[in-house]
Amino acid sequence: MLTIALSKGRLAEQAIELLEMAGYDCTAAKEKSRKLILEDPNTGLKFILAKPADVPTYVEYGAADIGVVGKDTLLEEGRQLYEVIDLGFGKCRMCVAGPKELKDGGLDRIPNKRVGTKYPNITRAYFEGVKKESVEIIKLNGSVELAPLIGLSECIVDIVESGRTLYENGLDVIETIADISARVVVNRVSMKMKSDEIKPMIEKLRQQVEIKNEMQDS
């Protein structure tokens, strides 16, 4: 029996689609209900639907063997996991964004900046580790773009997909921190103790990802 933790929402749907293409029966997971645990005794798969930020935790502690989660969450949570496949969907970028004036060195000219973000750990790691500067991090829970607009912070760190929300609010991408996409993560013990089930699954999913990538390239 394998337990798979999915990030509720679009990512879960795409993950289920890919699993089905790889030959796994996911009827249980597609059931429209409010159930949080979806189990199919015939296939030996158990799905749990969790908040994205919690998926790495379930997998690190072994409550789930496998998880599908965005790289942004993995970077933020910093859990000890095996990160075995880049699924290629859910693509976006982790960026520093702010008013256009901050482009071309403008950002570096502001001392003691305040940074609004949902991702305090990524923000700290980037400013301290890469840019070698101290910043004041203001943890926000949504609509982060508001912060620089009303003077709560000088800039923000957030994921950017099309950039439309930023542009419509007079903001722009200043620096890119990392490319983000959905990843398959595996618990370190499950990888050993359940390798008979997990290794073939990884192989089949990889094949599907390759086929998809080739289709997109051509």
């Binding site: 502690y61 072994g62 496949i85 370190r188 013990v189 050993k192 103790m193």
Partner: protein, 396 residues
Amino acid sequence: MGNKFYTPDGFCDTLPEVCAFKKDAENKLRNLYIHHGYTEIETPGYEYCDIYVDPGFVKEEDLYKLTDSKGRLLCARYDGTIPAARYAATLAKDKLPLRISYIENMYRYNQAGGGKQSEFTQAGVELMGVSGSDSDAEIIAMAIRSALEVGIGDLQVSIGQVGLFEGAVKQMGLDEATQSKIRDAIMAKDSVTIDRVARDLSLSDDDRKTLLMFSESTGSFEITDEIRARFTDAKALDAIRNLEEIKDALDDYGFGKYVSIDPGLLGAQDYYTGMIFKGYTYEVGFPIIGGGRYDKTVGAFGRDMECVGFSLGLSLAITALMRQGLELEIPGADAVVGYDKGSKDARKTAITMAEQMRCGGSVVILDTSSETEEELNAFADENNIDTVLWFDGGES
């Protein structure tokens, strides 16, 4: 002020049934270590933070800290190996090799998000002042025996060798930044990143495949001629020989079935210097055993010494056993002895009788509260005690 009813975050009481099992396990382990010539030491519950932080073994924020009367920073015991290394370098006068064991509580403040205990018991042994594959195998065998002794039967041990990776990056001439990037990716079994880095650097197909071998390996891994042919660096070839010799020796111990080779095991940078291993079982998401060769650690305390050791997470192992279906028994008594509280003779007889029965190996409670035989019987019923003895003015 309002916290007097609670235990601190990350700490808990060990209840009688768990405690009984745990102490029994500790006794078995202690016995095992004694019979293999490992002598137990107790190191201080608090150390100067410097022993962990100064040589860079542990991050400052992972330590439980307090200050001494002079304002110097102390920390609660974080592990068994570093204090043992300090002991070996500064106090141990014995002839080498030293065989040391410990069973102690460790304290770690690193559990963001909770769910893991900050206080837990580890049992471990260190074999100090000796190198070679046979010593490596002896320690892995001790680790396997420890797990079996505690009752962990479903055990898998993965063995790696840091020399393989070090040799590989050396023969490819990779710079430090790249090494560290690949190292992180190997530890995360992140083949995507390794593949990308190798292609960005225009490494040869062979080199790329060699790097991917580190991240792709799970489960059983055999050292074949094909793998041997990938390596030219002397350190890597030594590492391969070391792994083969260890595997061979473990077959002689009869433990071959528990072990497999995983070249992707690397451990914290610059800590392990040779063989490294981890032990896994079902139902807990973390390895229950960790160990390896650490030839540079004791040197940080001023005396160079080649060492190999392991620790078993006893608390974690017990959690695993309970989730695997182990039924813990609440320790009970075999007999209860009561007496007429008005009679001095009855009391004396009861005490003597209870003592005699204990000498015979029974667990006997001397009841000091029941006023009548009926009360004593009720007490025995409630507590599932089979044998009840009542002394009434000298008569049973």
